[in-house]
Symmetry: C2
Subunit: 221 residues, 2 copies
């Protein structure tokens, strides 16, 4: 499949930023890498003509993104309607705080992906199962096989929507501050404070049987 795909997404009016164009990329591998490192996105859609942005989980499967939720949730109902739901799905990894000598040149290091498109409800049972597994696996690789899969009642209560990767851009800022030459002698500390998402020690549920050991995907073994 990869050999048949161009290495970059086409750039369009809405994926070319007005600012900091040098930070934008349409490279497929970069887009995939940013998406694959995360699992929490911010999904934007319209409700009564106004924008709404909600945090939600996602998974990437090839050139498709999946999001799930209750069949009663508003965006997912919208995606079930005939023309689909216009959405913007954004994933952001914050990598560092860039402390320049001037307030103006303060910045953050980050990698983000913005996907524009139309989301549709997935109705095919096989694709729905695949998508739900993928969301569990995106958050915690190894977990889909190490938990009880959804039964018929749970599947009926779960909506799955799909957004194809067609109109996509990544944006990356990395490296140190870019101060003005005339500021270089100012007496302020300057550099980058790295930021990362980290995980603590797993907390077993109160009712976990003591005989059940911590799985390898949680112990890092």
């Amino acid at each position: 499949m990869p050999s048949a795909q161009p290495t970059a997404y086409p750039s369009t009016d809405r994926t070319v930023p007005t600012r900091s164009r040098e930070r934008a990329s349409y490279d497929r591998e970069l887009v995939h890498a940013v998406l694959d490192e995360g699992y929490l996105c911010h999904l934007g859609f319209l409700r009564d003509g106004a924008p709404v942005v909600l945090p939600t989980l996602y998974a990437r499967v090839g050139e498709r993104l999946y999001v799930h939720g209750s069949t009663g949730s508003r965006p997912l109902r919208g995606a079930g309607a005939a023309p689909g739901l216009a959405v913007c799905l954004t994933v952001t990894h914050l990598d560092g705080l860039v402390l320049a000598r001037s307030a103006f040149h303060h910045s953050v290091n980050y990698r983000s992906v913005v996907v524009h498109g139309t989301a549709f409800q997935v109705t095919d049972p096989e694709e729905r199962s695949l998508a739900l597994d993928a969301i569990v696996e995106q958050v915690m690789p190894g977990r889909a096989d190490d938990s009880r899969r959804a039964n018929a009642k749970e599947l009926a209560a779960t909506a799955v929507i799909r957004l194809d990767l067609l109109e996509v851009s990544a944006k990356v800022r990395s490296g140190g501050p870019n101060d003005e030459p005339e500021d270089l002698e100012l007496p302020y500390w300057t550099g980058v404070l790295p930021v990362a998402r980290t995980y603590g020690t797993p907390i077993p549920a109160d009712d976990l049987a003591p005989s059940i050991a911590l799985p390898g995907y949680l112990s890092g073994e």
Copy 2:
């Protein structure tokens, strides 16, 4: 000022969720606490009738949120137009991955705030300065006084928009998994994997003079 304010934001059609209403809160203190812990939001707005979601920095000053950017950026230009810009500003803190015995009851612990409203450009020079300082301070308390403030040219290139906290809700999920009674004997590890944003060792810029020590707000002293 606090004594004159009700302790909760009014709930409206669009701040009452269709799902998991028990997780929603309009408590002013909670909303402020969630906003104050962060500095990166996802800002949703419309462009040519379609939703756009972009990551950006923000600051809270009392009942106002400020966002800044280049005067050339699209959302900020929109906020400068007469009726303002309809936006949704969302802040999310991910606190844990909730691994239930069933895939269906997998969840995440989080605290989020969603603000709906109309953003306006700030033109008053004093409010603009205050907002720009506040954004630097929101990201790194102590830094506004320890960097060069914006000069006239930089101020002219910077747009500041304001969004008042009028239509606001918080949503919180905490605690362990909620498995079905019939799943309690399943042989899967269950519990919570804590997630946090953490900071690494500050990396000085290549051209930092060795005589400039790490400031207290970075060394934690």
